[in-house]
């Protein structure tokens, strides 16, 4: 009797346990990751929000944190730091006005179209109006600071880094990934070589590019001299310096796009392509209507991740140009870093929080408008 129960019981318990484990599977999969991220993220988020609303000061025997409300934000947006943060605004040229008008008309049209839709909701409408307002503010800022007589601030410079960088990196990475999926002898060599830049520590990359861009001691001196730029210094030309930063960024981060797209291309199902080939589709048609849709979900994720990372660009401008000439190559994170080094912790946190707001806004708009359409079919 007892022996029987002993045999039966563990079995029953084991069965119940595995059933319970099966029911809890969803939780088991997600909670560890959520807890780890929660543990390290919520605390910094709240503390730096508090710091951004206060002023940090050393006093005798310690430090003092004084609550100042929105003063740090006001300083950046309207006060003494405005030209540094937003830039020097100029009246737009006729071309600038044209761009503004086109963007405004486009936004207005999409708003009206949404308002006429059957499925509209008040929340959706408010969200869209807000998005349109922020977007047009961004375009207005871009046009004004890039016009003659204007000077882009750290915000605009960061936006330029991010968007130019991502477009070039994505196209280069995709091209290289497509080329190395072909059965070429030696493609493994290229695959490994193309990964190399990503593996160097960002600080290291910044120093490498400082060596390379040196017009006097760098390896390209003969080229500069031939172009009559022998004594030219990057640090004196805003767009030259920005280009140097962007080239460094592209050099370093194209491999990231490359490796993820390569994995996506290698993972796509070959049968569809074979079937299309049998049906007589040409190479371009296959790429456009079979390959691209398959790698689009990964691409949108890739662009989102790169965008979030690119907004935090700091090492390259810091080491390469030290933010100069003036503040021409300074990114938002570098500005936060510099004010943080000079112990303006409140100002630094305010910049960080504005960056967070902006990236969250752009990220959410991106996810809602683009990603949900291509990736989740919504």
């Amino acid at each position: 009797m007892q022996a029987e129960r002993a045999l039966e019981n563990p079995n029953g318990r084991w069965h119940r346990l595995s059933e319970w484990a099966e029911r809890m599977a969803g939780n088991v999969f997600i909670w560890p990751a959520v807890l780890v991220v929660l543990f390290l993220s919520i605390f910094p988020l709240i503390i730096s929000l508090y710091l951004s609303l206060s002023r940090f000061k050393f006093v005798k025997g310690g430090f003092e944190i004084k609550f100042v409300g929105l003063a740090n934000y006001a300083k950046l947006l309207f006060g003494s730091e405005r030209t540094h943060f937003l830039g020097l605004l100029a009246t737009p040229s006729p071309l600038g006005w044209l761009v503004l008008a086109v963007v405004a008309a486009f936004l207005l049209r999409s708003l009206v179209r949404y308002a006429r839709r059957e499925t509209r909701s008040l929340g959706g409408l408010v969200g869209r109006i807000l998005s349109a307002a922020i977007l047009s503010f961004g375009v207005w800022l871009l046009v004004c600071t890039l016009s003659k007589g204007g000077r882009p601030g750290t915000l605009v410079v960061t936006l330029i880094y991010v968007f130019v960088g991502i477009i070039v990196q994505y196209l280069l990475g995709l091209g290289l990934a497509v080329l190395t999926t072909q059965q070429l002898p030696g493609r493994r060599f290229f695959r490994v070589v193309f990964l190399l830049p990503m593996m160097i520590t960002p600080v290291g990359v910044a120093y490498v590019f400082r060596m390379l861009t040196d017009t006097d001691k760098g390896p390209f001196r003969p080229i500069w001299q031939a172009m009559g730029l022998g004594l030219f210094s990057w640090v004196n030309d805003p767009w030259g310096a920005r280009a140097a930063v962007m080239i460094g960024d592209i050099w370093q981060w194209t491999p990231f796009m490359f490796i993820v797209l390569l994995a996506a291309l290698e993972g796509q199902s070959v049968e569809l392509i074979e079937a299309a080939l049998v049906d007589g589709a040409n190479r371009w048609q296959i790429f456009w209507s079979i390959t691209l849709p398959q790698i689009l979900p990964v691409s949108t994720t890739l662009i989102l991740i790169r965008m979030i990372e690119a907004f935090k660009i700091v090492d390259l401008p810091n080491v390469l140009t030290n933010g100069g000439p003036g503040t021409a190559t300074e990114s938002l994170t570098l500005q936060a870093y510099i004010s943080w080094r000079s112990l303006d912790l409140g100002g630094s946190a305010a910049i960080a929080y504005l960056l967070l707001l902006m990236v969250t806004f752009i990220g959410m708009a991106y996810v809602n408008l683009i990603r949900s359409r291509v990736a989740e079919g919504g």
Partner: protein, 345 residues
């Protein structure tokens, strides 16, 4: 005419025509040159004496200048060797551990997010945030953190049972995923002080554990997002078949989904590994002597006398060698055909 045509004819699905091949090689070669030249310059610089660097560009060791091993000696066996070896070991341990953990936890979460429906209730989340804010305010006002934590926890449970149940609105998987990735949006500069204080309280400053936890948390969102997309491309039919055969969720995940997502797993692992390997700012704050990692040693070569290019080059080079070895070893797993075979079989 026919010979001409053959030049442009693709030989098979993945084998281009001779002309296409030549074009491909030209483009690949160009980019390889762009990638390799800065590395070549690093290598050359590591064999230069300070005077060779400062006199202007010299390209070929042995022709333009006399190569010297002084920087290599200084870093590997000389004065700095102790300051190189310990960070090296730290970097290896921290990067490998945090990347592996991030891959395991992140892959599991990504799988959960693609195959389950989560409905976190808005009320519960708001209660949680409220209690947490109260606890933090209490601690800043001087209450001991253990008591604040317990009180906040009790309060949270009470609120959850009463008010939290009233709010039935809930979020979905997409919101969880976006919340995860949004944790990477705050620049490290803003995160560094609170994290420093946190680890100070936990007495984990200047330990590898602190770095591993930090890198794990900062890399998890990337793993989740990348793997989520790979899982979405894996046909669900396979899993349904296995479920009918009586396999448990965990077994399906481990025996079917993970092998199918191998190319993505390898690519993601490489990326998080590199990320942890190279992280600079957080390491600068969380480690001082014992747990220091290599990027700090590289940056430290920018001394008061200006950047010591020769030492820096050596350090960067010895830093990338293991990662390259890893990339070569793992590259073949990003291989074609896994998925196709599985569906046919």
């Amino acid at each position: 005419m026919e010979a001409m045509q053959r030049l442009f004819q693709r030989r098979s699905l993945h084998r281009p025509s001779p002309v296409g091949m030549a074009l491909s090689y030209t483009m690949l070669g160009t980019w390889a040159l762009v990638v390799l030249f800065p590395l070549y310059w690093l290598l050359v610089t590591s064999f230069k004496l300070p005077v060779d660097v400062n006199m202007g560009p010299f390209y070929l060791p042995g022709v333009d200048f006399k190569p010297s091993l002084h920087a290599w000696e200084y870093i590997l066996v000389g004065d700095l060797s102790n300051d190189t070896i310990r960070p090296y070991i730290n970097t290896v341990i921290v990067a490998l551990t945090s990347a592996s953990l991030a891959l395991i936890l992140g892959t599991a979460a990504a799988y959960g997010l693609t195959r389950f429906q989560y409905r976190p209730r808005l009320g519960a989340i708001l209660c949680f945030i409220g209690c947490l804010a109260l606890a933090i305010i209490a601690v800043t006002l001087g209450a001991p953190w253990q008591i604040a934590l317990v009180v906040a926890l009790v309060l949270f449970v009470i609120l959850l049972q009463t008010i939290g149940k009233r709010f039935q609105r809930s979020l979905g998987n997409r919101d969880i995923a976006f919340w995860l990735i949004s944790q990477r949006m705050l620049p490290p500069v803003a995160v560094v002080i609170p994290i420093y204080v946190l680890f100070q309280r936990l007495h984990l400053l200047d330990t590898r554990t602190a770095l591993i936890i930090t890198y794990l948390a900062s890399n998890l969102p990337i793993v989740v997002w990348l793997m989520r997309d790979y899982f979405q491309t894996i046909p669900i039919e396979l899993e349904e078949c296995a479920a009918i055969d009586g396999a448990s969720r965990y077994r399906i995940f481990w025996a079917i989904v993970v092998p199918l997502a191998l190319p993505g797993l390898v690519a993601t692992f490489l990326f998080v590994l590199v990320f942890a390997w190279n992280e600079y700012l957080l390491s600068l704050f969380l480690s001082s002597s014992r747990a220091q990692t290599l990027p700090l040693t590289v940056a430290a070569q920018n001394a008061t006398r200006g950047p010591q290019w020769w030492y820096m080059s050596v350090l960067i080079l010895i830093m990338i060698v293991p990662v390259i070895a890893m990339a070569i070893a793992l590259e073949r797993y990003i291989a074609r055909g896994l998925l196709v075979g599985a569906i046919k079989g």
